[in-house]
Homo-oligomer: 718 residues x 2
C-alpha cells in the first residue's frame, strides 16, 4: 500500500468520525432521543443531563467523561466496568510510555538507513514506499542500529510489567472494596451445592440436604432451596406473561378507540390460531382475561408439582453470616469428591438454572467436547480468512481475476478499494462469531452468566489472535511468496521476517478504521436509535413495550474485550518493527476510554456484577500478547541476522516469571472470597428471608403462592 | 544371555535366598536377638512372639503374616503401612490376573513361530537362544498371531484399571476411617500459618496474630504459637542432653567399678579438650553435674530470649474443634495471597521447623531451583549408567578390553560374570542416590516429613525409570548397534524395536536378583544384627544407648516405593513382549508382601503417620508406567509392521481419562480434610492444653519452664 491510499483511508475515516460526532451532538440534544443517549441515567432516576440543564456546549460530554471519577463509574455502572476502564487506561499507559521513547528514537534510526532500498533493487520484487522507510525492515542486516530496536523491545516489556503490576494491585483493591461493601448481596450468604448423592430411603431430598448441612454447620446453617426442574412452570409463566402484555395492549387500543365519534370504542378482536391469522375470532380483552385466569391456576398447580416431584440433585444453601458462607464454599465437604461439590453462588440474576442441575461427569464431558468444537472452529475458520486476506492486495486480485483489470486500474477506485475493501471484509466477517461462542460456552455447563462471558471472551480471543493476526500475517505472506517457498521450503522464515513489516500498513489502517468508525458508531448510537424509532412508531403501544425498545443492554464484554485484545496484540507486536503504529494504538485506547466513559455513565446498564472477576482474564491475555511479541521479535532479529539476538531470550522467561508471581499473589482472591474481606464487612445479620427470596426464580414466585409452604420445614433458625 | 547362564543366575539367587531364610529362622529364635527381629512388638510392650510362646515351627512367621488382617497392620504400623500393602496386593493382583491369561496364550503363540530364526539367519548378527524363542520378537512380521499380543495389551490395561479403581476406593475409605478415629490427633485442631506480614507499629507479633484470627474466627479460635528461631536454644539443649547421657554413663561405670576389691570404686575421669584427648583432667561425674546445671540456666535464659526476640513470620494456630480447623485450613484468608497463607498442620513429629519459617517467594524459588538440580541429576546420571550398561554384555567387554579374553573365556567364570556382574553394578550404583534426593527435597522448604518423603520418592521414580529402565534399554541397544545407526540414523526405531526383547533377559535376572537376594536380606536383617552386636559389645553402656542401637527405623518409603515402581514399570512394559517376566513380577510382589508383612508387624516402627497420603502418588505412577507400556507397545507393533497397530491408540487416551476420573473423584480428599469426615468424628472437646503442648519443640519445653508465661496473654478461651 502506498502513502496516498494510506492517507486517503486515514482522512476518510476521520471525516466519517467527525460526521458521526456531529450527528451525536445534534441528536442527543433532542429530548425525544434522551432514552437512547441517557438510558442508564433515566433508569437510575436521574436527570438525563448531569448538570440538570442542557448546556449549549456540544462537547460538554467530553468534559463530563474526563471529570468523572472511578467512584462515579462504580456507582453508575459497577465494579466490572471500573475494571474495564483500568484495562483501557493500563493499555493506554503502556502505549504512551512506549511511544514517548520509541517514536523519537526508532523512527529516525530506521528512516535514515537504506537497507530495504538496496535489497529491493537487488530483488526488484516490491516498490519502495515512503511509509516502509520508517519501518525496522529498512535497517541494514546486522547493523549496529539494531541495538536501538533491541533496547526498544526491552523498554516495551518493562513498561508493560510496571503498568500491569500497578493495575493488578488496583483491581484487587477494587474487588476487596466491593466485597466489603455493607450493602446486601444475597450471593455472599449463599453456597451452590451440586452433585448431591441419591436420596436415601425414607427421606425427602430436602431433608437429606438439611440434615447434611445442619450436621456440618450446626450454628451457621440457615436453610436450603432444592433446585427444581422449572421447564414446565417456566413455559406456563412465559405464556402468562405474554397474555398479560397482550391484555395491556388491547386495553390501550380500546381506550384509544374511544373517540368523540365512537364513544364506546371498538373492542379489539383477534384470531386464536396460527399467528392470529386463522381460527376463531374472539374479543381480545375477554380472551386474555380468561387465559390469564386459566394459566394462573395451571401455574399454581405446576408449581406445586415442581416443588414436590421435580427436585434435582442440586441446591442453594443459605448461611446466616458472610464468613460462614465463604468458608463453606471453600471447604471440601465429602470424602468422595464428585458428590456434594460446593462453590460460591453467583448473583441471582446471573444464575443459569438449567446448567446448575447438570451432573459432575456430564459437565466434564461437555467441557472437553466444547473445547474440541471451539478448537476446530478456530482452526478451520482459517480457511475462509486465508481466502479473504488473499484478496486483500489489489495486485493479487488483478492477477487472479484479469477481467477486473479495467475497473481496478482507475486510480480513484483503486485508492478507495485498496484502503477499505479488505478491512471491511474482515470486520463484517468477525461480526458473525460472538453469539456462536456464547452459545458454546453456555453449553459447557457453567452456572453463572459472568463466567460464560469470560469463557466466550477467551475463545473469541484465541479465534481473533489466531485467525486475524496470525492468519492475515501468514497468508498474506504465503500467498505473495508461494512460488518462492515452493522452490525452497527453508526460506519460509526469511520470507516471513521480510514481509512482517509489509503487513504493518494493513494493520495501521485496520486500527484506524476500528477506532474512527467503530467508536464513532458507538458514540452516535445510530443503529439503536433507528431501531428504537421504528419500533416506537410501528410496534410499541404500551409503556412497557417502549421501555423494552430502548433498553440499552450492557457493555458486551464477551466481544468488546477480545476486540480490544486484538488491537493490543497488533500494536505490541508491531511496536518496534513499525513504531508508527503506537500513536494509532494510543488513539484507539484514548478515544475508547473517552467514548466508553460517556457510554458507561449514560448509556449501558450492566446485566450482572462479578466484582472485577474479568481482570485476571485480561491480565493474562495482555501477557500472552506480550510473549507473542517477544517471540516474534526474537525471530525477526534472527532474520535481520543480528549477532546479539540471544539477548532477547531472557524476555519471554521474565514474562513467564512475572505472570507466575502476579498469579500467586493476586489470583486466588479473584477465584474465591478471602475470609479477611467478608469478616471485616458489616456484621449485622440481614433479613434472611430477603436473601432467600432473591433466589426464587420468577416462574416460581407468585403473590398468591406462599413459599413458606414450600420450605416450611426448613427453618432451622426462625 | 543364553539359557544356562540365566538358569545359573536363578538357581544361585534361590540358594542365597534359602540360606538367608534359614539364617533368619535360626537367629530369630535366640532371645538375645529379639530386639532385632521383634522391635516393634517390644516397643509396643508386647511379647515378641505372637502366641506368647516360641513355636517349634520355623515357618510360623509365614502363617502369622498370612493370618494378619488389615486392622492388625493399622494397629501395629499405621495407615501408611496398610496403604503400602494395598499397593503391593494391587500390583500382585494386576500381575496375577494378567499372567493367568497371557502366559497360557502368548507363550505357545510365540514359541511355535520362527520369525527371529529366519531374520537371524539373514542378518547373522545374533545367536539364537531358547529363551528368545518365547518372546514376541520371535513372531513373524505382520503375522495374524500378533492379534493375540494386541488383545493381550488390552487385557493388561483393563485389568490395571479395574484393580486400581478398587484400590483407590479402598484407600480413600482407609483414610476416612483414620481421620474419623476418635483418638486425639493434635494436627486435627491445628493450622499452620505462614507469610505473616510485618508486625504493625505498637503490636507484638503474638498480638498481631491473635487479633487477626480472633476477628476472623471469633468463636473457634483457641490460641496461637509463634514459631521462633530455635537454633541457639536447640544447640544448648543438645549439649545438655549429651552431658546427661555422659553423666548416666559415668555413673554406671562408677558403680560397676565398685567391686569387692575396690569397694569405693574408681571415679571416672576425662579430659575437657578435643575428643577427650587433651586439656585438663576432671572428674567426669562432677564435671557433668556442673555442666548440666550451667547449661540448664543458659537454656532457660536462651528460651526467654528466643520467645521474645526470635519470633518468625509463621505461627501455629489452634482451634477448639476439628471442623473449625479443617475449614480454616482450606479457606483463603487474605486478599493478597502471599500473606497469611494457611495450610493443614502436619503431625508434631513430622514438622520440619526450619522449613516452616521460609518466606513465600523463597519457597517458590527454592522449589524451581531444586527441580532444575534434580532434572540435571536425572539426565546426567545417564552418562555413568550408559557406561555401566555398555559393559553389561561380556562380548562388549571382551571386544573393548582384549587382554581380558583369557580370563573371560573360561566357561565357569564367564557364566558367573554374565549372570551377576551387570546387575550388581547397577544395584550398588543405585544405593548412592536416595539420601541425596531426600536432602534435595528437604531443601525445597516443604514443612512436613511425609511430604518430603513423597517428593524424594517422586524424584527417585523419575531417576529410576529414566536411567535404569530407559537407560539400560536404549544404551544397550545403542552400543551394540552403533555402527548400523551411524550409517543410517533413520533405522533407530527398527533397531530399538528389534532389541527391546533382547534386553528382556537382563530384566528377568534383575527382577529375580532383587526379590531373592533383596527380600532375603530384608527378612534376615543380617546387617542391623551385626551392627547391633558390635555396638552393644564395644560402645553401649546404658540402657538408653542399647535401645538406640537396636532402634529399627521405619519402612523407608522414599526408596522402597520407587524401587517397587521400577519393577512395576519393567514387568508392565515387558508383559506382552516377554510374558515370561510376569511370574517373576508375581514372585517379587508376593514374596514382598509376605516378608514385609512380617517386618511391618514385628520390626519397623513408622516415624510418622500421613493417613495414606502416599496412595495418589503411587496410583499416578502405576498409571504412568501403564502409559509408558502402551506407548512402547504401539511403537513395537509398528516395528513388527502390524497392519492394525492403530487399534492401540485408544489405550493411552483411555488411561488418561481413567487417571482424570480417579483424580477428580478421590484426590482432593487426600489433599485436604473433607468436612464430612471430621464433623462426624467424636464431638467432645479434648484437653486443648495437651494439643498445644504436643507442638512445643523439645528444646523449648523444660519442666521448670512454665509455658503459660510464654503465651499467657493468648488465652482467648480459658
Amino acid at each position: 500500500m502506498d502513502l496516498s491510499s494510506f492517507l486517503t483511508s486515514l482522512v476518510t475515516s476521520f471525516i466519517i468520525f467527525m460526521v458521526l460526532v456531529f450527528v451525536f451532538t445534534w441528536l442527543s440534544r433532542k429530548p425525544s432521543n434522551a432514552v437512547i443517549y441517557y438510558p442508564n441515567r433515566i433508569l437510575k432516576g436521574l436527570n438525563p443531563c448531569e448538570s440538570g440543564r442542557r448546556t449549549r456546549n456540544p462537547f460538554a460530554w467530553i468534559g463530563e467523561a474526563l471529570r468523572s471519577s472511578e467512584e462515579d463509574i462504580i456507582a453508575m455502572s459497577g465494579v466490572d466496568t471500573a475494571v474495564y476502564f483500568v484495562f483501557l487506561s493500563s493499555v493506554l499507559g503502556i502505549f504512551t510510555l512506549s511511544g514517548i521513547v520509541l517514536l523519537p528514537v526508532l523512527l529516525p534510526v530506521a528512516g535514515t538507513d537504506k537497507g530495504m532500498k538496496s535489497k529491493s533493487e537487488g530483488n526488484n520484487n516490491e516498490a519502495m514506499t515512503s511509509l516502509d522507510k520508517l519501518l525496522m525492515g529498512n535497517v541494514t542486516e546486522n547493523s549496529p542500529r539494531l541495538w536501538a530496536f533491541l533496547l526498544g523491545t526491552y523498554w516495551v516489556s518493562f513498561v508493560t510489567f510496571y503498568v500491569l503490576w500497578k493495575a493488578y494491585k488496583h483491581c484487587s483493591e477494587l474487588r476487596a472494596a466491593a466485597e466489603m461493601d455493607p450493602g446486601l448481596k444475597p450471593e455472599q450468604f449463599t453456597v451452590l451445592v451440586r452433585d448431591i448423592p441419591p436420596v436415601p430411603e425414607g427421606q425427602t431430598r430436602k431433608e437429606q440436604i438439611d440434615s447434611y448441612f445442619k450436621s456440618l454447620h450446626p450454628e451457621t446453617f440457615y436453610r436450603s432451596m432444592v433446585i427444581t426442574n422449572n421447564k414446565e412452570a417456566n413455559k406456563i409463566w412465559e405464556e402468562l406473561e405474554s397474555y398479560k402484555k397482550k391484555l395491556e395492549r388491547a386495553e390501550l387500543t380500546f381506550s384509544e378507540s374511544k373517540t368523540a365519534s365512537n364513544p364506546d370504542g371498538t373492542r379489539p378482536t383477534n384470531r386464536t390460531g396460527l399467528l392470529g391469522l386463522i381460527g376463531q375470532q374472539v374479543d381480545t380483552i375477554n380472551h386474555c382475561n380468561d387465559k390469564i385466569k386459566d394459566l394462573s391456576q395451571q401455574l399454581e398447580v405446576e408449581q406445586k408439582i415442581t416443588v414436590k416431584e421435580k427436585q434435582q440433585a442440586s441446591a442453594l444453601v443459605f448461611f446466616n453470616s458472610k464468613p460462614a458462607a465463604a468458608t463453606a464454599a471453600q471447604t471440601l465437604h465429602a470424602q468422595i469428591i464428585d458428590t456434594w461439590t460446593v462453590m460460591e453462588a453467583p448473583e441471582p440474576r446471573q444464575l443459569i438454572w438449567t446448567n446448575i442441575t447438570m451432573k459432575f461427569y456430564e459437565r466434564q464431558i461437555r467441557k472437553y467436547v466444547i473445547y474440541t468444537i471451539a478448537f476446530l472452529a478456530i482452526v478451520f475458520y482459517m480457511v475462509p480468512i486465508a481466502f479473504v486476506s488473499a484478496f486483500t492486495t489489489l495486485r493479487n486480485l488483478r492477477n487472479l481475476l484479469p477481467f477486473l483489470k479495467s475497473i481496478v486500474d482507475q486510480p480513484a477506485i483503486k485508492t478507495i478499494l485498496e484502503a477499505y475493501l479488505p478491512q471491511i471484509a474482515l470486520i463484517v466477517f468477525l461480526a458473525l462469531l460472538p453469539s456462536f461462542l456464547l452459545f458454546l460456552s453456555k453449553s459447557e455447563g457453567i452456572p453463572s452468566e459472568s463466567h460464560v462471558v469470560r469463557a466466550a471472551s477467551g475463545k473469541y480471543f484465541y479465534f481473533i489472535v489466531f485467525n486475524v493476526f496470525l492468519g492475515v500475517t501468514l497468508s498474506g505472506t504465503l500467498f505473495s511468496s508461494l512460488k518462492t517457498i515452493e522452490k525452497n521450503p527453508n526460506q519460509i522464515i526469511t520470507i516471513l521476517g521480510h514481509s512482517l513489516p509489509t503487513n504493518a500498513s494493513f494493520f495501521l489502517t485496520f486500527v484506524a478504521l476500528k477506532f474512527f468508525v467503530g467508536y464513532g458508531l458507538e458514540l452516535s448510537r445510530l443503529i439503536p436509535l433507528i431501531i428504537y424509532h421504528l419500533k416506537k412508531k410501528y410496534m410499541c403501544k404500551t409503556e412497557a413495550e417502549v421501555k423494552e425498545a430502548w433498553a440499552p443492554g450492557d457493555l458486551g464484554f464477551a466481544t468488546r474485550v477480545p476486540n480490544d485484545m486484538l488491537i493490543v496484540t497488533i500494536v505490541l507486536c508491531y511496536s518496534v518493527i513499525a513504531p508508527l503504529i503506537i500513536p494509532f494504538g494510543v488513539m484507539y485506547f484514548g478515544l475508547g476510554w473517552l467514548i466508553l466513559r460517556n457510554q458507561a455513565l449514560k448509556v449501558y446498564v450492566p446485566s450482572f456484577e462479578s466484582n472485577g472477576r474479568m481482570w485476571p482474564h485480561m491480565h493474562s491475555r495482555i501477557l500472552a500478547a506480550l510473549i507473542l511479541y517477544q517471540i516474534t521479535m526474537t525471530g525477526f532479529f534472527g532474520v535481520k541476522k543480528f549477532y546479539y539476538t540471544p539477548f532477547l531470550i531472557p524476555l519471554p522467561i521474565l514474562s513467564l516469571i512475572f505472570a507466575y508471581v502476579c498469579n500467586k499473589r493476586y489470583y486466588l482472591a479473584f477465584r474465591s472470597t478471602p475470609l479477611e474481606v467478608v469478616a471485616h464487612s458489616a456484621k449485622d445479620v440481614p433479613n434472611m428471608e430477603m436473601v432467600f427470596a432473591a433466589y426464587v426464580p420468577p416462574c416460581m414466585s407468585l403473590d398468591k403462592f406462599n413459599d413458606a409452604d414450600q420450605f416450611g420445614e426448613a427453618r432451622s433458625q426462625p
